[in-house]
C-alpha cells in the first residue's frame, strides 16, 4: 500500500486490496478457462501441455538472461492519485481491482503469461480460477510482507525500490517457479502419453 496511517487502516486497506483482487482474478481465470473450453481446447491436453512446456522453457531462459525478448504488456502503473480521491480504503479497493486484472499494467516476468496460456489451453474454468487467483495471492503477499521487512514502514514505494535493487534474485525465483511448473507439465504430459 502506498500510504498507511495506522495499523488498523493498513490492515483494512491491505485486506480490501487482497480480497477485491482475489475476486477479480478468480473470475478472470474462470472466464479464460471457459473461453478455452468453448474453443474446444479442453479435449486436447497433450498438444496444449507440450506447447505450454515449450513456452515455459523459453520464459525460464528469459528470466535467467539466456534469451532476451519483450513480453506483451501495457507499460502502465496504477493511479497514485486515487489515494487522494478515494482515501486509503477506497484507493486500496481500486488498486486491487486494477492491478489484479493483470492485462492492463506492467508484466515484467513471464509466469503471468504462462499461467494465462495454461488456463486457456486446459479449458477448465475451475483450474483457471485457481491458477490466476494463486498468482494474485502471491502478488498481494508482497504487500503483507512489507512491514516485516521494513520495520515500522509500510510504504510500497520503498518495497518497490528494494525489489528493483535486488532484481536478479527475483528473476531467479521466477525462473525457479517456471522450471518447477515445467516439471509438473512434463510429468503430466508423460502420464497422458503413456496412458498412466
Amino acid at each position: 500500500m502506498k500510504v498507511a496511517r495506522d495499523w488498523r487502516t493498513w490492515l483494512s486497506a491491505v485486506s480490501l486490496y487482497t480480497l477485491t483482487g482475489l475476486g477479480v482474478t478468480l473470475a478472470v481465470g474462470a472466464g479464460i478457462g471457459e473461453l478455452g473450453r468453448l474453443a474446444g481446447l479442453s479435449g486436447r491436453p497433450v498438444p496444449v501441455l507440450a506447447a505450454c512446456l515449450a513456452i515455459v522453457v523459453l520464459l525460464a531462459a528469459r528470466e535467467l538472461g539466456v534469451l532476451r525478448f519483450r513480453l506483451p504488456e501495457r507499460p502502465l502503473q496504477t493511479e497514485k492519485v486515487w489515494m487522494h480521491q478515494f482515501g486509503p480504503l477506497g484507493a486500496a479497493t481500486m488498486w486491487g481491482l486494477h492491478l489484479s486484472l493483470g492485462f492492463f499494467t506492467r508484466v515484467n516476468y513471464g509466469g503471468f503469461w504462462m499461467l494465462t496460456l495454461l488456463a486457456l489451453g486446459l479449458g477448465r474454468p475451475g483450474l483457471g480460477a485457481l491458477l490466476m487467483g494463486g498468482h494474485w495471492v502471491g502478488k498481494a503477499l508482497s504487500v503483507w510482507v512489507a512491514p516485516l521487512a521494513l520495520g515500522t514502514s509500510a510504504d510500497g514505494s520503498e518495497v518497490v525500490g528494494i525489489w528493483d535493487s535486488d532484481i536478479r534474485h527475483y528473476r531467479r525465483v521466477q525462473a525457479l517457479g517456471l522450471v518447477a511448473a515445467g516439471a509438473v507439465l512434463a510429468v503430466w504430459l508423460t502420464m497422458l502419453v503413456s496412458g498412466g
Partner: protein, 55 residues
C-alpha cells in the same frame, strides 16, 4: 531511501523469498500427490510473489 534501511529490508525480503519458495515447492509436491494439476497452485503463488509490479 536510506541505504542501510534499504539493505536490511532487501536482506529480510530475500529471507522471506527463500521461505516462500521453499514452502511453495513443498506444497506443490504434496498437492501433486493428491492430484497432479493442483501442484500448479502453489507454484502460481510463487510466480506471483516474484512478479515485480507497481504496488
Amino acid at each position: 531511501m536510506d541505504t542501510t534501511v534499504g539493505s536490511i529490508g532487501a536482506d529480510r525480503l530475500r529471507i522471506a523469498s527463500y521461505l516462500i519458495a521453499g514452502a511453495a515447492l513443498v506444497a506443490a509436491i504434496g498437492a501433486g500427490r493428491i492430484e497432479l494439476p493442483l501442484a500448479l497452485l502453489p507454484l502460481a503463488v510463487l510466480l506471483g510473489w516474484s512478479h515485480l509490479h507497481s504496488v
